[in-house]
Symmetry: C2
Subunit: 241 residues, 2 copies
DNA sequence: CGAACGTTTGAGATGACTCAAGCGTTGTGG
DNA sequence: CCACAACGCTTGAGTCATCTCAAACGTTCG
């Protein structure tokens, strides 16, 4: 089932069988995306949204010099550009990090859903607000944490998000991102991220090698990054404390 | 009309007369809020949302030491906790910055609206996504700009948001926030914000005095903060370039 | 008049950046 | 099958932006 991971293990968001079916039926297209490919540009008019099935994507904003600030990363089960449905055009770009598979759903299907299944409609709204909650956690990370804390917070968040969709066992996951990506996420230089990764390794908080993250003691890493997963609205008692 | 400023001058969001009336009718209560008062706590179960009529409010996340990171500020016409409708509880706190007037709308009214006026429902969704777009701009600000750029970006953003609701003439506005607030918004210390404000003054980019912001040349300030208002989804040709 | 609050300034410490170079791995074309 | 380019990772040395700590000033309000 292609939509299986959408809102999987999210409190107040999980889809009924009928809702899953309706969403599946709305899929117009399945696509493969190459790594580092831009799939939506800012300001572009949109008539469909994209559900990420496999792989990792990101959203980013360019500065004057062409440097990127990542404002979100997306894991399988996420809609990467659902905001484009009410907004009609996005304020940022969407690109793949790794190779990815996506499902395309036309906005007209969402119009129909809002008439037929208002509860599903509300869950789509919920999904976009989950993104907003993650944005806020990222603001906290950038505004209040030092370099090591930022990386620890991000790696903890990603661990929990991947646990929710069965792509992390809680201690290890593969996300195929580079130290350069981490820098663009955490508002640091890649040189400094590298030094931070060494320190995380030395303190046995986390080992990062060719896109694979190993976390011996997730609670300890979370503490170092002041990470509290409640903003992810996971089903109760599943993750962490 | 109490809801006049809600989505005023927003592209794709402006309310019809009928929609304004329906929203007015949904108002259950009008309240006055003292300055620096916390009106919603994180995790608290919510059964209503709050429309800001007058004054300024903020949303913030506490760190372990009790220091705050502001993740949003709100101006008249904003719903300060509409995210709480689909989410049921918030991941952050909501507080007033200045004295404020608010209107309370029970969530049950939104349920009814989603049946009766699906278009208004979509505009409420739109409003929350506007918040998300602002979150992303704040991420860009914290991740990519230096101290002076961050303050310039924030003051430019606030200028445009207040222009949209007729509370700025484009060169001057009153928002009653302190340098300490600015520090919590921009991820800086208040000491450094003070030095930045002096530099902005010396470079004639901006004068900030007892909560009043004066901007002699808004375009120049915007350039310094890499501020591009397109993420605010204003009606065309109204503001800036 | 004193307390509280916001602003201002100085001096010294430090976390992160810049610039620069080198290393290891992977993939590709001759 | 080797050579080389591309990419990501690693490390060092010096610089700079911002922070910390500390003190003082102005205004408002009770």
């Amino acid at each position: 089932m292609l939509t299986k991971r959408f809102l999987q293990n999210r409190r107040g968001g999980q889809l009924s069988f009928a809702e899953h079916s309706r969403l599946e039926a709305a899929i117009a297209d399945i696509n493969q995306v190459a790594p580092r490919d831009v799939i939506v540009k800012a300001d572009q008019l949109l008539d469909h949204s994209t559900l990420l099935l496999e792989g990792f994507m990101c959203r980013y904003i360019d500065d004057v010099k062409g440097l990127r600030q990542l404002v979100a990363i997306h894991v399988p089960g996420d809609f990467v550009d659902l905001h484009g449905y009410p907004l009609k055009r996005l304020d940022h770009n969407v690109a793949s990090l790794t190779q990815a598979n996506t499902a395309t759903i036309p906005h007209s299907a969402f119009d129909e859903i809002s008439e037929e299944l208002p509860n599903l409609s509300r869950k789509l709204w919920f999904a976009t607000l989950l993104d907003a909650a993650i944005h806020r956690a990222w603001l906290f990370r950038l505004g209040r944490l030092d370099a090591l804390g930022r990386v620890a917070h991000f790696l903890s968040e990603t661990n929990v998000r991947l646990m929710a969709v069965d792509l992390s066992d809680g201690h290890q996951y593969a996300c195929g991102i580079t130290q350069y990506d981490l820098a663009e996420i955490c508002g640091l230089t890649s040189v400094h991220v590298n030094r931070v990764m060494r320190q995380l390794r030395e303190e046995q908080l986390c080992v990062f090698r060719s896109g694979v993250v190993e976390i011996p003691d997730p609670q300890r890493l979370a503490r170092r990054g002041q990470f509290d997963p409640s903003y992810l609205y996971m089903t109760p008692n599943l993750f962490y404390a």
